[in-house]
Symmetry: C2
């Protein structure tokens, strides 16, 4: 859609042309346009939208805009939006809105629905319960395919997906699933009970969203049923929400790799103190850990001061840290993707050892040549630094490979063993190695 | 499925029981089971599979197992598998197989298909063309809904998805799309041309997979049509493949954050030299860049040697590096998610400045107290180190915030400005700041 043109039509008050312009535009794009307008303009354009798509557009608006509009529209309009919103969007909305808006919204929902909303609000964040919606097509085993298609046709407009239908008994226990594809292909007089998938993949209300995303990936699902402890069907999760989960989980791991605590908020809109708080804990912890290096240098440096070795400390620390970061990054990602488990520990050690020899030797030789020929230092110094570099890379890659796997084994998040922590550990190790080699080679 | 039990049945040669055990098991799980067996066992079990699911199971096998089985089965069996494979899986298969297997496979495909396969193999990696498949339902504008549903029903078994149907003219130009939901809801005598989505979202054969994934996320798509330069419909991409793309792209960014070049191969199965090569380039580049620190220390250290300042170098470098890594990680991720653009540069600078003041002051005070009271160093030294720490954090967070945005502006991947490079830059900057402050405060 052409935002400039739409904006122009709005300013020129050519509302019926604008209305026409918005036809055939995907709701998410209309929402983006509304977000770019001021409050009054947004309300005006929102009221121009055909009823069928108003709720859909509303669900894509920014939280701030949703709150403003909920506040501005009258109660009839608000009820109409609420009625058309999918249940999961409604619950999400109520979680985010300020109290006065929540009150106004709840006023326009029925007693039964209010109860159900409350129940949904109680599911823990990041659980199946917090992701699911209730708009699915339910069928009975005894129905014929013809009856089932008739039911799909009748209920489809209100359903989030009709491409998988769910078969329940009278106590709402999940008995099976059947795809619309299979319904369309089956003979009209077949019984649903005979052709349904009898052991469908399902999740439980308290299952973690990360595991659910893994199931979608593995089984190429479009939707999955959610059951409670009594195996009663309480909702479904659709693939579009799972795509968001995969993104969220990747962001979370990213942040951990950068020693930042994850947050749901966008960087641009989050407050300074909130962002600072997400960073200060790790930074303080790492700083205190790094002060160990101070004591190591203090206790060794005087004895080898004559050789001017301290000039090489940053290079050794950086390269060691980077070498360890490489190993830990690859291993953490492999654990997350389910490619590495604890049983692979020895394989990882053996692999990192071989990589270290290849990488470490090359870098050590390069470094030796540079220090000896270009910087013109004594050969003993060049040798000390290069041997330390090789051993540091070896140790760094070992630690980077092993620690995430051990963390996982200890039921910790492997991502805490990401580059910042590995770097800090490697720094102290590198210094000790450096001084020990220097003492034995240079002061012998 | 119970792998132990299945394995037992296999060893006891209870094949009909095993066949029964495998019923209702998702193909991907059967493939996992086959991958865990030896070559002969795998062939045996594979031959037990009902014809309808054999090709599906085959498509989920590891590449090695696919090659072995393709080699072991006879030509009739291979033709049967190939016939049932979706076209995109067939193309993927041919890309991965050794030459002798490719020859055998191509023998069992028709001339027309061989031509089409060759065309598909020519699309660049990571493009829409390399992701798409050709098994979609095509309709004509002139059809009635009843005729369209009849066509869906007839062609459904061979289609990768029937939930979106594609309307083409006689030259195969894409004219619109219609969801099966809309077909099911519409009156049987309505014309497709009247009820189809006339301006559907589409991509072009050479579009990058990352942009396509963004479209799926934004518009909650289940599938998207792919057109060539003449707007002819050549294929579709389905959401299950996009889920894999999102994962791949996240892995790629992860690797960059850890200064490792991305690879398609799994860590465990990749060779040592291949893995080493993915790491050595960045490591060498960073090491050479880090050697700048050597010269900085050399040119300053002697003048302030009396104060034992070199003991603080690692701490300053580490904390500066971590502070910069935090900022760059958050900013890179925000750019990838489309939350930050070049126009936000000033906002980012201002935000990082405020965060730096909060975080930097806290850490500097903490550090001052520790050095003065716990380590018992002179107050001037504690002051020098702490002021340097504050300024280093400020500079580091500025660089971490600015550089990824500039990289993006220069059409580079913002992820190259990740922690390893930021750390290396910050190290040199921190050292210069440190010595300059030391010179002016301590030797005045």
């Amino acid at each position: 859609m052409n935002y400039e043109k739409a904006k122009e039509l709005l300013l020129e008050k050519k509302y019926s042309l604008l209305k026409n312009e918005l036809k055939n535009v995907p709701p998410v794009d209309i929402a983006e346009f509304l977000d770019s307008l001021d409050e009054k303009e947004a309300l005006l354009v929102f009221r121009l939208l055909p009823k069928e798509i108003a709720a859909d557009v509303f669900s894509y608006l920014s939280i701030e805009r949703q709150a403003e509009l909920s506040d501005l529209v009258n109660e009839t309009e608000l009820s109409a939006i609420m009625e058309d919103l999918y249940f999961d969007d409604k619950v999400d909305l109520l979680e985010e809105m300020p109290a006065n808006v929540v009150k106004k919204i709840l006023k326009s929902t029925s007693e039964v629905e209010r109860k159900m909303i409350n129940q949904f609000l109680m599911y823990p964040d990041y659980s199946a319960g917090s992701l699911m919606t209730i708009e699915f097509v339910d069928l009975k085993k005894e129905m014929t395919v013809g009856e089932a298609i008739e039911r799909v046709r009748k209920t489809a407009p209100d359903k989030e997906t009709i491409y998988t239908c769910y078969v329940m008994d009278s106590q709402r226990h999940l008995e099976g699933t059947i795809s619309l594809k299979d319904l369309v292909l089956a003979k009209s007089e077949s019984k649903i009970g005979d052709i349904m998938q009898k052991e469908p993949i399902y999740v439980k209300t308290h299952d973690d969203q990360e595991n659910i995303a893994d199931m979608f990936k593995k089984y190429d699902l479009l939707a999955v049923p959610v059951v409670d402890n009594e195996h009663r069907l309480v909702g479904i999760i659709t693939v579009d929400d799972i795509v968001d989960v995969i993104e969220e989980e990747a962001t979370e791991d990213f942040y951990k790799l950068g020693a930042v605590e994850p947050t749901d908020e966008e960087y641009i809109s989050a407050g300074t103190f909130k962002l600072a708080r997400k960073r200060i804990v790790w930074l303080t912890f790492l700083m205190i850990s790094a002060s160990l290096t101070e004591f190591i240098i203090d206790s060794f440096d005087a004895r080898v001061a004559a050789f001017g070795l301290s000039a090489f400390i940053p290079l050794l620390m950086d390269t060691g840290g980077n070498a360890g970061a490489q190993a830990s990054t690859v291993v953490i990602r492999s654990i997350v993707l389910g490619e590495i488990a604890f049983t692979d520990l020895l394989k990882v050690i053996w692999k990192e050892m071989r990589i270290s020899v290849v990488v470490g030797t090359s870098l050590a030789v390069l470094n030796f040549l540079r220090i000896y020929f270009i910087s013109g230092r004594p050969i003993e110094v060049a040798f000390t630094v290069s041997i330390t570099l090789l051993i540091t890379i070896l140790v760094a890659k070992m630690l980077g490979g092993i620690l995430p796997i051990l963390a996982k084994k200890l039921k910790l998040d492997p991502a805490i063993m990401a580059s910042p922590l590995i770097t800090t550990i490697v720094d102290s190790v590198a210094l000790v190695i450096f001084f020990l080699i220097a003492l034995s080679l240079l002061t012998a």
